[in-house]
Subunit: 128 residues, 2 copies
Amino acid sequence: MENPVGTEEIACKGACSENLSAVEDAIYVIGGKWKLKIIIVLQEFGNVRFNELQRTITGISARVLSNELKDLELNGFVKRVVHAEQTPVVVEYISTDYSRTLKPVIISLSEWGKSHKQNIREDVFSFG
Amino acid sequence: MENPVGTEEIACKGACSENLSAVEDAIYVIGGKWKLKIIIVLQEFGNVRFNELQRTITGISARVLSNELKDLELNGFVKRVVHAEQTPVVVEYISTDYSRTLKPVIISLSEWGKSHKQNIREDVFSFG
DNA sequence: CTGCATCCGACCGGATACTG
DNA sequence: CAGTATCCGGTCGGATGCAG
């Protein structure tokens, strides 16, 4: 059936673009090199301070971390808690309930990442 | 070996960084604005030609698409098939078995993306 | 400590034109 | 059609310095 841009493709585009735009939305908010990693650390540690965060997430600069945190806070993934009673001021970041809805995403990514690393080690696709 | 930050944090770092590095690995290969979207389209359409791909994935330029495809092929997510018998030459891209191992990742991302869009619409966290 | 402001180089990626 | 080459503006992000 020669069907260059026929009904079949159009139909697929409908169902497909639903997936596509959903994933696009997801990537838009939690995409990038750092966001998920920050979320993971906050979920595992509970509450973390700025410099602690920077030390844990290897390679991130203060500037970028600061921007990412602002972004994450705006989107409701992170809460910024200031302990004003102390000097110097202590600031802690904690993960929100909403960030916990990302658990399935994090788990599937983590599992895939593990098996991928294995595959690379075993040279599964060195097609020579 | 001194321990400036305390054993508790170190212990957590062990368990935590496993997750962290796994997710990092995943993001390293399939991260970015386009890679997952390309993979999704190829999985849903089966085999797609270059320009078709560019039309389907709104906003991507030929240059970037070309680079992404090369990258994806190198990592075994995409296969490039040349039909030399035709003129002008027809090239099709198809998804590999390995790219299908990303299914769980794509599903969880897609579902989260959908519910996230809903949440935004309902203004769940307009703390205004 | 917790960041923000500024400077500045590196890189990303769009537009355009071109080849096979 | 399926890309590649070049130009070039915009953004990303490191380094440094400074403020609360």
